[in-house]
């Protein structure tokens, strides 16, 4: 900073300096010493500049903070993002988008967890973190696309017990997703209903070194749930327990139907409880013991429904169950004979590779209105014969000409099957029928009977899409629900594909290159540069 003359005050007088003036010097007056005000001026300016800089800094920090707050608010309103996943899991499918826009009733979706559980998940498994993020994105999309008809809220059951009370009465627990419309409600589970495998199952598979394809069912679970509470009510399904049924088959079937919006009740036929008035399909799930005449009569009366029909029956056969009364009823009413033979496959291509047993085989499904052509797994399948003439009977799946028949009773009689050989069926029996749909048309109404010759078929449906699609397709067609139920495709979260490293040698080469050579090479390059600079 240059000194300005006007800033200078009088400088101190040097009394030791000689005077050069020849005339008689005048008496020097002592004036008080005054310090220059340069420092004060400089400090003042510095203070001003510093204060301005500080203010400017604070303003910029505040502006950046405000920018982010505004962007956050805008993003809540318009959550636009680029979905870089291979299967577009964060982008709502066209079907789900169209459905969300079509919702015309007020639907409330309550997630019984805080929002961070979905928006910043930490499950420890990438697939499930992605599923939670997908669910969070889907809920936002449903809310914005529905024009306010669908509302979403997050309630921590522990932190907000009063608010949560309404939903806990509906059966919600921590981690539930409750969908409510008026008086109707549906409770889904975060850990079970939004993926095809639960976390525990995936962990177990990975523990044994088996990769599984984890699919997200977020869209179908949400659409089915909203549809179930706000849309047309689906027919009820009654599953008869009692007489030692196959509980795995019950569990598999109930899961398939419940996630599509059906109300499934279980009634113990032996205690003669009433069936639900909404029920239109009765399921007899592979009992090991026979039904009594009185119970058969009760079932008959329910099916006939005072001659108005409209009630349908599904019988799942237990290959080792002894049920003559039930078998006779099925044959007399629906024209399907349940034989004592098991299908025995001789064609290697039809035998299930996971078991390698000839009685664990695949069957063919022909394309129909309710099922596409496919191959299903039908283990230990009882051979069915279509003998009725007054019914319309359609095979659901059949076994090829290479299949033979193995009679269990005869095999037991001959030293536990060791000396018993399977036999070829009659020419008219081929293709061998493993499951069939029988339809009775009357002037008063129609009724359908589904006969499945294998209880293991339903268990296999848990992991085989084709089995599930056939089961659900037939039931939807029988109950007339095809147009009501909305089926959405699952999205793959993680595929079961693995990297095929051909040999240990290849793995070693990769290790040497990327773990040793490349990093060490980089350090060697550093050393070379250093040495070169030393010699310059």
């Amino acid at each position: 900073m240059a000194l300005e003359e006007k800033d200078l005050h009088e400088l101190p007088v040097d009394e030791t300096a000689e005077s050069t003036d020849t005339a008689e010097p005048a008496k020097k007056e002592r004036k008080p010493l005054k310090l220059p005000s340069i420092k004060f001026k400089r400090d003042s300016r510095r203070l001003r500049v510093g204060a301005a800089a500080t203010v400017f800094t604070v303003v910029v920090i505040a502006a950046i903070f405000l920018l982010n707050v505004i962007v956050g608010i805008v993003e809540d309103r318009w959550p636009i993002a680029i979905d870089t996943t291979e299967n577009q899991i964060y982008t709502l499918s066209d079907q789900a988008t169209a459905y969300a826009k079509s919702v015309d009733k007020d639907v409330e979706i309550v997630v019984c967890a805080d929002e961070a559980t979905l928006s910043a998940p930490n499950t420890g498994m990438t697939e499930f973190n992605n599923m939670y993020l997908q669910l969070h994105a889907a809920l936002d999309s449903f809310r914005s696309l529905s024009g306010g008809k669908i509302s979403v809220k997050y309630i921590d059951l522990n932190e907000q017990p009063l608010e949560a009370a309404t939903y806990t009465e509906m059966g919600a627990t921590a981690g539930s997703v409750v969908i409510v419309c008026g008086e109707n409600s549906r409770v889904l589970s975060l850990v079970e209903d939004f993926t095809n495998y639960s976390m525990e199952e995936v962990y177990m598979y990975s523990y044994y070194g088996q990769a599984v394809a984890v699919n997200s069912t977020v869209e179908s679970a949400l659409v089915t749930g909203i549809n179930a509470v706000s849309g047309e009510k689906l027919a009820g399904v009654t599953v008869l327990t009692g007489h030692t049924p196959d509980t795995n088959a019950i569990s598999a079937l109930s899961e398939m139907l419940t996630k599509r919006g059906y109300a499934v009740e279980q009634v113990d036929i032996t205690t003669m409880k009433e069936f639900s008035a909404d029920s239109q399909l009765m399921v007899i799930p592979a009992p090991s013991e026979d039904y009594s005449e009185a119970e058969i009569k009760r079932i008959r009366e329910w099916v006939e429904n005072n001659n108005t029909y409209g009630h349908h029956l599904m019988v799942v056969k237990n290959p080792v169950g002894k049920t003559p009364n039930l078998d006779t009823y099925v044959q007399d009413t629906f024209g399907i004979q349940i034989t004592g033979d098991i299908v025995y496959e001789t064609n290697y291509n039809y035998i299930y590779s996971g078991n390698q047993s000839p009685i664990y085989s695949y069957a063919d499904v022909a394309a129909t209105d309710y099922a596409k052509a496919a191959r299903v797994l039908a283990p230990i399948n009882v051979h069915l014969k279509t003998v009725g003439t007054s019914q319309t009977i359609t095979p659901l799946y059949t076994f090829p000409d290479t299949a033979m028949l193995y009679n269990l009773a005869e095999a037991e009689a001959k030293n536990e099957g060791e000396d018993y050989e399977p036999v070829k069926g009659a020419a008219s029996d081929y293709p061998l029928v493993g499951a069939a749909l029988s339809s009775i048309y009357t002037s008063n109404g129609n009724t359908h009977g589904i006969v499945l010759g294998s209880n293991s078929f339903l268990q296999a449906a848990v992991s085989l899409d084709e089995n599930e699609e056939l089961t659900v397709g037939v039931i939807n067609a029988v109950l007339g629900s095809e147009d009501v139920i909305i089926e959405l495709e699952d999205k793959v979260l993680s595929s079961a594909d693995t990297l095929a490293v051909k040999s240990a040698g290849t793995a070693l080469v990769v290790f040497v290159i990327f773990v040793i050579l490349v990093p060490v090479g980089t350090l060697v390059a550093c050393l070379l540069v250093f040495l070169k600079r030393r010699h310059l």
Binding site: R46, V49, G50, A53, T57, V60, I61, I64, L67, N68, V71, G72, V74, E75, P79, I80, A81, I82, D83, T84, T85, E86, I89, Y90, A116, S119, A120, T126, N129, N130, L133, A137, E159, A211, S494, S495, D497, T498, L499, A500, V501, A507, V510, F511, I513, F514, V515, V518, P519, V520, T522, L523, A525, C526, V529, F530, R533
Partner: protein, 237 residues
């Protein structure tokens, strides 16, 4: 700015820093690639990006940025720099871009590993990998800008690295603080808003949202601005 960028980029390679940083990144990326992909059979680079995320926070950026301005101050070459015919913003941006480029090139190993995955017959999810790369680059840019700011505060490279490391550590643990203050909803919201981890995980999961991009860019701008302010204040001293 371009002259400063070129000078800084060159100096990173005439010294050991860039090589050491790259060696670190290549080593850990290679190790986790071998472990997760070759031995584990995974077809995605999730494990590699996870480790690059951690070591970027804890090791790479503190080492990369520790000498940005600290060394200049210690060697008294900062005076020449500050009086050069380049604006302070140009100086800061030039250094920042040089370090960012070194970081980006180090991360390019992930693209090489993706090609290796393709050579084994798997179909790499390129969009997802590029999304991860972008997220890590934005996060790295954040940390480099912060590291440069800390470097302007001290003439000790060690202290600069330590400050950057501490800052990165706090960022890494930030989400854990939310659970400590679960009763104070406003604080939890603020923590979640500021959480770098949450925003980065969105990129890793496969979404690129404009909110997260703006957040990272604005944080970089903030630290670069603060660096300029510190240098400017030194002019007046």
């Amino acid at each position: 700015m371009i002259a400063v960028f070129k000078r800084e980029f060159q100096s990173l390679f005439t010294g050991p820093i860039a090589y050491f940083v790259w060696a670190l990144m290549f080593f850990f990326a290679g190790l986790f690639f071998y472990s997760y992909n070759i031995l584990g059979g995974l077809t995605t680079l999730t494990g590699v990006f996870d480790i690059l995320y951690t070591i970027s926070l804890m090791l790479v950026v503190p080492i990369l940025t520790m000498r940005a301005f600290s060394e200049e101050r210690r060697n008294r070459t900062d005076q020449a720099l500050l009086t050069a015919p380049v604006s302070l913003t140009g100086i800061v941006m030039g250094k920042y871009l040089a370090m960012l480029l070194v970081f980006a090139l180090g991360m390019a190993i992930t693209l090489v590993l993706t090609v290796v995955i393709a050579m084994f017959g798997a179909t790499p999810a390129w969009a997802s990998i590029l999304g991860n790369y972008l997220g890590l680059l934005l996060l790295g840019g954040n940390l480099i800008a912060a590291g440069m700011f800390f470097s302007t505060l001290t003439e000790s490279q060690f202290i600069s690295a330590l400050l950057t490391f501490a800052f990165s550590f706090i960022l890494l643990m930030f989400d854990s603080f939310a659970s400590l203050f679960s009763n104070a909803t406003w604080l939890v919201t603020a923590i979640e808003f500021l959480s770098v981890n949450t925003r980065y995980q969105a990129f890793a999961a496969g979404t690129i949202s404009y909110g997260n991009v703006i957040y990272f860019l604005s944080m970089q701008a903030l630290f670069l601005f603060l660096s300029v302010r510190v240098l400017d204040s030194r002019k007046w001293q």
